[in-house]
Subunit: 206 residues, 2 copies
Amino acid sequence: VASLGPSVMQRLVQAFTRLPGVGEKTALRFTLHLLGDQKPAMEALSLALSEACARLSPCERCGNIAEVDSEGGATCSICADDRRDPRQLCVVARVQDLMAIERSGAMRGRYFVLGRLLSPLDGVGPEELPLTRLQRQLEIPGVEELVIATPPSVEGEATALHLAREFGGRVRVTRIASGIPHGGDLEFADPITLGRAMAGRRTLDG
Amino acid sequence: VASLGPSVMQRLVQAFTRLPGVGEKTALRFTLHLLGDQKPAMEALSLALSEACARLSPCERCGNIAEVDSEGGATCSICADDRRDPRQLCVVARVQDLMAIERSGAMRGRYFVLGRLLSPLDGVGPEELPLTRLQRQLEIPGVEELVIATPPSVEGEATALHLAREFGGRVRVTRIASGIPHGGDLEFADPITLGRAMAGRRTLDG
C-alpha cells in the first residue's frame, strides 16, 4: 500500500516493534524521525547494534552483560574484579536489578543473574531455573553466603524459597529485607508491606 | 563505572536516546531486552536501519519517503503514479499527515510535504519554508488547486495564510475544514473549534 511507504521503510518499522513497549505507531514515529534528516543518528544506532551483537554476551559465570574476549570467552567486569568479596554471592532476577544494587553500593560480593523467576501459572517450574550454573558458582572455594535479592513479589518469594531449600544445606542463605521504603509513608503502605515490615523488625540497640 | 556495563553497551544506550521520547531509562530497557536472548531482533534492526539509511531518501518532487533508484534519484510511489489526479496538490506539514490523508482515501491528487510550519516564536520565518520547491510543483502543467492541509493550529493557520498570499494569484488555494470531528461532542468542544464549525457552516440542500 502506498500509504505505508516503501518496503525498506516497512521493514524498519517492523524491526522497531520488537522493542519492548513499542507498537506500530511508536515504531513509525521512530522511523519517520530518523528519516527526516537524522541519518547520522540512524547510522550510529545501526553500528551500535551490530557492534553490541558481535561483542556482547552473557558473562559465563554470572549472566551479567560482558564483553567477548579474544578467546571467545566472556567474563564480566564484576566477576573479573579481584577486589570483590568472594564470600558473598547475590542472586538477582535480571541484569537491571544487578545494576540497581551496584548503584547502591550495598553489595561487595559477586552476583548471579537467574534470568527468570518461578511462575507456575506461566509454566515456569524449577527445571527452567539455571540451578546447575548457580551451583557451580557456589562451589567456588570461599563462598559462604547466598544473598537472595529476587523481588518481594509472589514469584520472587517462591524463587527465594526454592533456592533456600536447594542450597540451604551447603551455604548460609539470606534474603534481602522487605518493608517500608526509605522516605515512604506508613499511611499509604499496602497491608502486605506493613506486615513484612512488622515481621522483619529488629532489635534497636539504644 | 562497572554498574553501567561495558562501553559497547553504553554506546548502544546512547544511540537509543536519540530516538524521540526515549530517555536513558527506556534506552537501557531496550538494550537489556535485546541483549537478553533477542540477538536475532537486534541484527534485524541493525540491518533494517543501515538498509533504510542507504536506500531511502525524500522524494525529489514532494518530500515523501521514497526509495533511491538506480540513477540515484528518488521519486515516491505517489508522484510516480499516473492515476493520480494532476489537478490537485495537497500541502501537508509532515509525512505522517500525508499518510493519514492517504489512509482516509480523501485525496486523489499529489502531495507536497513542507517539513515545517511558520513559527515566529521559534524563529521559523517564510524563508525557512521550501517555497521554491513548492512553486516548481505548482508549475507542472495541469495543477489547478493547492489544497492546504496544515493542522488547524496557530502555526498551521499562519502557514496556510502565507501560502495563500504567495500562490493565490496563480492557482485556486483551498483550506481543509476545521470543526467538530466525526463522533465528537459539542458539549466538550473548545470554543475555537465551535467558532470554526459555525464560521465554516454550509448550506444543506434539503
